[in-house]
């Protein structure tokens, strides 16, 4: 009798626990595969995209990007006002936000972040210190202990004044807001001082912010993040996020095996097919950046020769072979992910060996017959030019077939193309020193299309050594207004001019892929329209807390 009563009680308790509580999820942890962690999990000092993936979920950003890469409100709303030779940026924290340790976020924290980024001894990758903020010069190179142009107006408002007009400055404020009380003081009570960021660096292994997740640990090649129950946008639906180091060769396999749920293998037609055949959910995203072939205008000063070489480049078949449908040929030296890319821009230099010959002739070259072969000569010297490509010795590069075809076509005309297949570090070193005639490289795009550094005669990364007054003037005009439509027009002209100078042939815009395991991840809860600025899962800006697992 007693036993039966006990049994009945037991069954009732079981039934009750079954009814109580929310719907059960089979999975409580989502695992993402990353290539490697350097362990610098700090918004200030990380230089590795994977470290950033690990800490980003613990923070929110001051302002953010919209899906097209234009600035949008984040934790703060902002206004931009042009007033007496200065531009005034006012950031206003929209609501009460607490960091995950419970302390509230104020404008003092925002000020702290800016002071760190602008510190004279700051050695991270943020370029905020290149913005001409009022009083920054005295702070960086002088004795000032404050930046005159950065002012806390009240608990929730920060004002930043910049000299002149700089349309790219607003982008520098897309940063993760780090708490001053945690990053400014270490565990032993030491506080940071201007010129010595050791205290801030002491937090490299344990980031803390206001984000949807709390960084728990990094051990055995796994970063563990737990949901921040007090997150201001509501507790995240997924209790645990883990990021595990995953070698590149196994990125797709590991997802198929169920060891990880999200990963970013190289996007090529094979891997996409494999992902789909395995029943996985691949998302394709345009890569913010593009590949190109450049010519050094100092070493090849005759524009006719440069135009001739451009007409010997046959881009489409090479890219089709390497990337299939996963890359597009672009016609202007700018990533198509940028809002400034002129839609419908047409081909400037088609593959046309006859036109190339015309340009060679215009440059003074003649075809002569020598020993039964045609030789392209000027003043008794055969035309010879060198091109460098980072194919690591095996010509493993999407643009490699373009070069080999160029070589053959040039030979038919009577010239010589020397292809140097080298290591990327050497290629880049010599490119910077201006020692290649032609080179194959790629740029990563920034949200702001300003290309001063690349094409202005005073630009520091002007590898093409362009010096065109009209171009300089237009580039300067493009960065002295914040009107989007005006800038679009200016940049369309700039890009046309650059093409006319024949120093850069834009080749391809490829795609990246993120693969999800639909068995674990509820793919309905992912962002539908993926752009580089709004990536599913990795777009922590205000959406990771809605990620749901099955």
């Amino acid at each position: 009798m007693k036993k039966r009563l006990l049994a009945i009680c037991f069954v009732c308790v079981l039934a009750l626990t079954g009814c109580a509580g929310k719907a059960d999820h089979a999975y409580t942890t989502v695992i993402a595969g990353e290539s490697q962690f350097n362990g610098v999990f700090s918004p200030f000092f990380s230089t590795n995209a994977y470290d950033k993936h690990a800490y980003q979920f613990a923070f929110d950003t001051l302002i953010s990007y919209d899906s097209q890469g234009q600035p949008a409100p984040g934790l703060a709303d902002y206004t931009i006002e042009e007033k007496d030779d200065e531009t005034v940026y006012t950031f206003h924290l929209k609501q009460d936000v607490n960091f995950s340790d419970g302390k509230p976020m104020t404008a003092q924290d925002l000020l702290f972040n800016i002071l760190i980024y602008c510190d004279p001894s700051y050695d991270g990758s943020s370029t905020m210190s290149t913005v001409d903020i009022v009083g920054l010069e005295e702070y960086k190179n002088g004795d000032a202990d404050e930046i005159a142009g950065v002012r806390v107006v009240d608990d929730k408002t920060l004002e930043v004044r910049v000299n002149g007009i700089d349309p790219s400055a607003i982008y520098k404020f897309v940063f993760e807001v780090a708490p001053a009380h945690y990053y400014g003081t270490d565990d032993n009570g030491n506080t940071w001082v201007k010129g010595d960021l050791t205290v801030v660096k002491s937090r490299n292994d344990k980031p803390m912010g206001s984000g949807a997740y709390v960084f728990e640990s990094f051990q055995n090649n796994i970063v563990t993040l737990r949901a921040n129950e007090n997150y201001w946008q509501g507790a995240p639906k997924t209790p645990t996020i883990k990021l595990q180091v995953n070698s590149n060769a196994n990125k797709l396999e590991a997802v198929k095996q169920g060891e990880i749920d999200i990963s970013s293998p190289n996007a090529n037609p094979e891997s996409v097919k494999m992902a789909e055949e395995a029943g996985l959910y691949p998302v394709m995203i345009d890569n913010p950046g593009y590949g190109y072939i450049g010519i050094n205008a100092d070493r090849v000063p005759d524009k006719n020769i440069r135009k001739a070489m451009m007409h010997l480049m046959n881009r489409a078949p090479a890219i089709q072979t390497y990337y299939g449908d996963l890359a597009t040929i672009i016609e202007r030296p700018m990533s198509t992910t940028s809002w400034a890319y002129p839609k419908g821009a047409e081909e400037f230099y088609g593959f046309n060996p006859e036109k190339a010959l015309e340009y060679f002739k215009a440059a003074g070259y003649k075809q002569v017959a020598e020993n039964g072969r045609t030789v392209l000569k000027k003043d008794g010297v055969q035309f010879r030019i060198e091109i460098a490509i980072g194919g690591e010795g095996t010509m493993d590069h999407p643009s490699a077939p373009i070069l080999t075809q160029m070589k053959t076509e040039l030979e038919k005309l009577g010239g010589i193309l020397d292809i140097t297949d080298t290591d990327s570090a050497i290629l880049f070193d010599k490119m910077k020193a201006g020692e290649w005639d032609m080179f194959v490289a790629a740029w990563s795009a920034t949200p702001d299309p300003d290309m001063y550094q690349l094409y202005h005669s005073e630009g520091t990364t002007n590898h093409y050594r362009i010096k065109n007054e009209e171009l300089d003037r237009l580039i300067e005009a493009g960065r002295s207004t914040t009107d989007i439509e005006e800038r679009k027009e200016i940049y369309a002209q700039v890009l046309d001019l650059i093409m006319d100078e024949a120093v850069e042939m834009p080749v391809y815009q490829r795609m990246n892929m993120i693969v999800f395991n639909p068995k674990v991840v509820n793919t309905e809860s992912l962002i539908k329209e993926a752009t580089p600025y709004r990536q599913p899962f990795y777009d922590n800006y205000f959406s990771v807390h809605t990620l749901e697992l099955n």
Partner: protein, 322 residues
């Protein structure tokens, strides 16, 4: 003996100096430096910023000046802060070397346990079928590239049969602690240890075989056989004990090397060991780490050879160290 050790240590210090000079000169002469590799891809970075960064990272000095700066700090035990990892180099090395050690140690033990008996069998039955079988197996083991063998094992045991995890050090999906955690790590280590064992045991086996053959030619062995002793006693009691001498010295010499890490295997199986760590640092021109790590390797090598020589002196009564 003590004099011998002291003298060897002094010589080692001299060697370390020479190694460090050579290393520093080589590393600084490499094309591309950390600043370039890390920051140059960003079109917003200005020249002024690059110069400032060069100064902050100590890359704006000449090679000689830079070397003495490094030496000054190194002599006080400060190997600098790693550019890539943002932590003191000594910290990074001491953290990760244990991971590499616990991967290499089981492989090392297994190699010995398998290779030595195989070598002995091979030598005592020279030119027989077992000898050829063992030799071929050893050759295959040495010749197999580790990445190929690793991929093969992964394909068979992980993707194919699903018996073992594909990679990693632990199962990320769970939060194991205590014994379960250790067992979980052990299961994850099965494949990488297999790779290291199979690719490494060939040379042990050949070494044992060669030494054993030499020993078996000796006169005292013939005497022992003539005395009528069982073959087994002859081989194991008389022959093997003398083979042990070179074997033990070699093992002693290899012990320090167990900390240095296996670059390729660690990379494929995503194990956070010293090998993979140092490869990343090398690719990015992380001078403090490269210097610190290579000096560490040099110290290990010198320690290894010293250990080997000392053990020789201890184990072989014929050898006198002076």
């Amino acid at each position: 003996m003590r004099q011998y050790i002291i003298r060897r240590v002094l010589i080692s210090i001299g060697v370390l100096f020479g190694v460090s000079i050579l290393l520093y000169a080589l590393v600084r002469s490499m094309p591309g430096d950390y600043i370039q590799t890390t920051f140059a891809g960003n079109p917003n970075v200005t020249e002024a910023m690059i110069q400032n960064l060069r100064k902050l990272y100590g890359l704006d000095t000449g090679i000689v000046e830079g070397y003495f700066q490094w030496l000054g700090k190194a002599l006080r035990g400060d190997l600098g802060i790693s550019f890539v990892y943002g932590r003191p180099v000594t910290e990074v090395i001491t953290d990760k070397m244990w991971v590499s050690f616990f991967l290499a140690l089981p492989a090392f033990i297994l190699q010995l346990l398998l290779a030595v008996p195989m070598g002995i069998t091979s030598a005592s039955k020279q030119y027989s079928k077992s000898d050829y079988a063992v030799t071929v197996f050893a050759m295959v083991g040495i010749s197999l590239p580790s990445f190929f063998f690793a991929a093969l094992l992964q394909r068979i045991f992980s993707m194919g049969l699903g018996w073992l995890p594909l990679q990693g050090m632990t199962t990320a999906r769970e939060d194991y602690t205590g014994i379960r955690h250790i067992l979980d790590m052990a299961v994850h280590y099965i494949l990488p240890v297999t790779v290291l064992t199979v690719t490494g045991m060939g040379s042990f086996m050949r070494y044992t075989r060669t030494n054993m053959l030499e020993v078996l030619q000796a006169d005292y062995i013939r005497t022992a056989r003539a005395k009528g002793l069982k073959k087994k006693t002859v081989i194991y009691r008389h022959g093997f004990r003398n083979t042990l001498i070179p074997l033990v010295t070699m093992v002693g010499g290899m012990l320090p090397g167990l900390f240095s890490g296996a670059i390729i295997t660690e990379g494929i199986f995503a194990i956070d060991g010293l090998g993979y760590t140092s490869l990343q640092a090398l690719k990015q021109g992380d001078i403090p780490f490269i210097m610190g790590f290579n000096i560490f390797l040099a110290v290990l090598t010198l320690l290894g050879t010293l250990l080997a020589d000392i053990t020789y002196g201890l184990v072989d009564p014929r050898v006198k160290l002076s």
